[in-house]
Amino acid sequence: MAQPTGRLAVKWSGPAFPGLAGDRPAGVGGLVQLALRKLLRQPGAWAGMALVGIAILGSVAAPWLATYSPVEIDLQAQLQPPSPLHIAGTDFYGRDMASRLLYGGRTTLAIAAVAVVLASVAGTALGLVAGFGRDWLGQTWVSLIDLLLAFPSLLLALLIVGILGPGLHALAVAVGLAAIPIFARMVRGTVLTIRSAPYVDAAIASGARDGYILVRHLLPGVIAPVLTLAALEVGLAILSVAALGFLGLGAAPPLPEWGSMLYEGRQYLGVAPWVSTGPGLAITLTVLGATLLGDAISSAMAPGRS
């Protein structure tokens, strides 16, 4: 940024107005506690946490919970209905559906999580620059974000998978990249609001460098909204991953993944509906949980209304 002129043009590389602008706003811990209390008062939050918790727990503990191998073929046990031996039935290759569901959750949820992390980190960086840069750089980013938002996000993901070729890594990258513009736009909007705050003016006036202002003053302000948006985007990411898996663009068989398992079950709908019911329910309930939790978090973070 340009050096301020006049009496304020003091060379000062440390925090601007130590103790005032450089410090975190007072009572951050209190705010978190308040938001947490508001969150836990909502029944939707509890339901969401339960559903998401079960999905995560099942995926993480899959090696201990699964009673069969998720990929081992047993032609003696083809398309068996749910029974005490196979509580969710077996698929066309005689593989235990319950074990495949547990391991499938690992694939689906891990890809969705990587995608959301990628989108929120890259989107935050992009949004910070777009919101803070007053020069051509910021303007370029803004137009780029607007352009990417002109694509339906699943379409953008499909294009990227089309270029990279199907596969798990491509899937995570595609779903993540496709969600970047949503984060970038939100962060940019938040930055534009924070930028006019007195403590930012004070930092600028005292000659703090751009990078310092970005990291110390603007970044802390966007973390809460980014986390809130990330919570809302998790459900959408799971849906996108499962959709791409359903289209045959994700996990290569026999690796279990909820979307591709559902597609495999489609052929046996008449004789063995449980093969697609399992993954269908798993996706629906997990996305439902993520949506309820995301809703509860964003309403707990919203100022004012309780």
Binding site: S143, L147, A150, P152, L155, L158, F246, P273, T284, L288
Partner: protein, 307 residues
């Protein structure tokens, strides 16, 4: 008014140009060699890869490739499919009507359903009806199209044998795809409708209308609903993007012809010219519809800049 229309058309044109640029950039700038990816499955020799590179023009400078891409687009030329050698434009023209049919039918389900769910949810937020409306909306969000569609097939094709599970020969084949895709789109529309109605309901003019003793119903219809109409129209336009993305999945599930099926096949065949052509056409449809929606919203609301 004409200047507003002109400005909006110019923005739409610039966005279309930008979309063409993004598609070009994604194809050329992502790591990995498209020619290599396309031939990966057949395990082609380096010589074949080099030949394909020069056939696609990938060996020329980026600026030249970009100019060629734009001039070809201006002539309405999207290249040839690598899979069957036919012009990409022709392939798209054959499939487009099926996708438009599905999109329109699904939108005809989604819009009234979503608006009703949102309006009921906002009008009686604490009643059983309002809560039920929001539960249905969330279900619409959480139920993936490929799962709700499968449930429909199970009930209406497998069990009752009323409707064909696949194809696009008659209106009967359109019923289930339109319902599945429409319901999935109604979910987000319902949630956003409720949110924007709730936002309007705390505005000063609504509070004043309440304060001067107008009946609840009249305030809702005349003050809240009317003022929310413009954002609602915009929301509906934006959800069209979701619908176009969902059409890809819906067409695969119901084995329906259409742009989505074409795109998925193109990706599986590694047919790069076809992939970029279909993506460009779907994205352009989305941009043009949203521009039309914006003009419509401007017509409804004098503040939006018709003057």
């Amino acid at each position: 008014m004409w200047s507003y229309l002109g400005r909006r058309c110019l923005t739409a044109f610039m966005t279309l140009l930008g979309i063409a640029t993004v598609v070009f950039a994604v194809v050329r700038l992502l790591p990995g060699d498209p020619a290599q990816v396309m031939l990966a499955r057949s395990g082609a020799s380096p010589l074949a890869v080099a030949a394909l590179r020069s056939e696609l023009g990938l060996d020329r400078p980026l600026a030249v490739q970009y100019l060629d891409w734009l001039t070809a687009l201006a002539r309405g030329d999207l290249g040839r499919s690598l899979f069957n050698g036919r012009a990409v434009v022709d392939l798209i023209r054959e499939q487009l009507p099926y996708t438009l049919e599905l999109a329109l039918a699904a939108f005809a389900v989604a819009l009234p359903l979503g608006l009703t769910l949102g309006a009921v949810g906002a009008r009686w937020p604490n009643s059983a009806a309002g809560r039920a409306a929001m539960v249905v909306s969330v279900a619409g969000v959480a139920l993936p199209v490929f799962w709700s569609g499968l449930l429909l097939i199970w009930v209406f094709s497998v069990q009752l044998a009323w409707l064909p599970p696949a194809g696009a020969d008659s209106w009967r084949a359109l019923v289930m795809p339109a319902l599945a895709l429409g319901f999935a789109t109604a979910g987000p529309i319902g949630r956003l409708t409720r949110a924007s109605l709730m936002e309007v309901s705390v505005q000063p003019y609504v509070v004043v209308a309440h304060a001067k003793g107008l009946p609840e119903r009249q305030v809702f219809v005349n003050h809240a609903l009317r003022n929310a109409a413009v954002p609602l129209l915009t929301i509906a336009g934006l959800e069209l993007g979701f619908l176009l993305g969902g059409a890809v999945v819906t067409e695969t599930l119901f084995s329906r012809p259409g742009l989505g099926k074409l795109l998925v096949d193109a990706i599986l065949w590694r047919d790069l010219p076809l992939v970029q052509g279909v993506v460009l056409v779907i994205a352009s449809l989305y941009v043009i519809t949203n521009a039309a929606v914006d003009v419509g919203a401007g017509w409804l609301s004098p503040q939006a800049g018709w003057q």
